[in-house]
């Protein structure tokens, strides 16, 4: 077996210096700061960052010249932070020099696929050109493939994508995203695509505690607070809503808070003759939350 050739290099290598110089630390810190929970995801991102860092160091001593595979797949329910993590990943890749400019272009099927013959190729190529030098994030990528409809042009977009992912790895990193089960089925019928994905990251649903913490952050940012009773109501709300269909994690929490604000405003308006203080304007009461259909449905179900 051939010995790996290393160039003459000073005895010790400084991985920490590379880490500090590359701005990767900032990106990872931002990840910690901006996203609640997501422990397994953050761990995975740190692992990938470590791999890329070590790859870079290896290259400086002359090992393994081929570019490491970088395309990724993020699976999970909506509202679990996939786009945010993709942005941070773009920063990490840029900080380590794997992409030249580090911007993120986020698209769905409709941005890539045309409505008539000959429309798809230029559309896809335009998107790819705009994304070059950075990261292309394709949300709900499985919609590219619609085998039931023979006039569907998604396959053409997939072919072009495959070509670029293979031949222009220096120019573009692709991140596909969507529900796990659908993504698995998509990969089964597109083994070419599946084989080019190097890193799979799964985004689990937030725990109820994490969702509660997210809600607290959102409220603080909007300058609202919960009454004691409202706090209990919120916790209950989260438990119930999670069990219901179409739960979009952080997004659903956001929607619920927006609706609660609406109800608070109506409540204050109804009683506008009564004296008001600033505190009243800031406080969400239990009734603002309990008016939700989420509670009603549950009660109906138990009848």
């Amino acid at each position: 077996m051939a010995e790996a050739q290393t160039r003459d290099f000073p005895g010790t290598l400084d991985l920490d210096a590379l880490y500090r110089d590359s701005n990767v630390a900032q990106a990872l810190e931002a990840l910690e700061r901006d996203l609640v929970g997501l422990a397994p995801v953050k761990r995975r991102v740190r692992e990938i960052a470590a791999l890329l860092l070590v790859e870079k160091l290896r290259r400086t001593v002359g090992l393994e010249a081929a570019a490491p595979p970088l395309h990724m797949c993020f699976t999970g329910n909506p509202g679990t932070g996939k786009t945010t993590v993709a942005l941070r990943m773009a920063e990490i890749l840029h900080g380590l020099g794997y992409v030249r400019k580090g911007h993120l272009v986020a698209v769905t099927r409709d941005d890539l696929v045309g409505q008539y013959i000959g429309h798809t190729a230029p559309k896809t190529k335009d998107v790819l050109k705009r994304a070059m030098g950075g990261v292309l994030f394709i949300d709900e990528a499985y919609y590219l493939h619609r085998p039931e409809n023979e006039r569907d042009y998604g396959q053409e977009a997939i072919e072009i994508l495959l070509q670029v992912m293979e031949n222009q790895r220096d120019d573009l990193v692709v991140i596909l995203a969507g529900y796990k089960d659908r993504m698995d089925r998509f990969f089964e019928s597109n083994p070419g695509l599946s084989s080019r994905i190097a890193h799979h990251v799964d985004f689990p649903d937030y725990t109820p505690e994490e969702l509660y913490a997210i809600a607290q952050r959102m409220l603080a940012a909007m300058q609202y607070q919960l009454s004691d009773a409202a706090r209990a109501a919120l916790a209950e709300y989260i438990e119930r809503r999670r069990a219901q269909p179409h739960f979009a994690n952080a997004r659903s929490v956001r929607n619920a808070l927006d609706r609660a604000r609406l109800r608070q405003a109506s409540r204050l308006f109804e009683r506008r003759d009564a004296p008001l203080c600033a505190r009243d304007l800031m406080t969400i009461e239990a009734e603002d939350l309990r008016a939700s259909r989420v509670f009603a449905a549950h009660e109906e179900g138990t009848r």
Binding site: H103, K129, R130, M132, G133, G134
Partner: protein
């Protein structure tokens, strides 16, 4: 004869690496790059053929280089040039334009003269 139109015609033909550097400069100035080709490089020909639309909103030169390569492959006997357009107020015009492919046999021009009154000549340039 070497056609000396474009910003860099007196230098040796730019390599793809050097073209990329110029495109990066143009993109950094937020100019839109476009590729054009022609077999009629007469200086009064203002309208070379467009190879696709001008590329707005690009961040990186890779896409532009791909288009240049594709245009060269499709029209190996044509002149191909790269333009960079600046849409800001006070300019709204090309800011950079240079040739990125020349045909193997470059176009030569001859000068035709039509004599008028008082030794006034009416000149025309024609392809040789």
């Amino acid at each position: 004869m070497r056609l000396t139109q474009g910003t860099f015609s007196f230098l040796p033909d730019l390599s793809d690496h050097e073209i990329r550097a110029q495109v990066d400069y143009a993109l950094g100035q937020h100019w839109a790059c476009s590729v054009e080709f022609t077999d009629d490089p007469h200086p009064r020909n203002s309208y070379w053929e467009m190879w696709g639309q001008p590329m707005f909103d690009l961040r990186d030169a890779a896409g532009v280089l791909e288009e240049i390569k594709a245009c060269r492959a499709a029209h190996p006997q044509c002149y191909v040039k790269l333009n960079a357009f600046d849409a800001t107020r006070g300019f709204e015009t090309m800011r950079l334009s240079f040739i990125v492919q020349r045909p193997a046999a470059e176009t030569r021009f001859t000068l035709e003269r039509e004599e008028g009154a008082g030794r006034v000549q009416r000149y025309a340039m024609r392809r040789a």
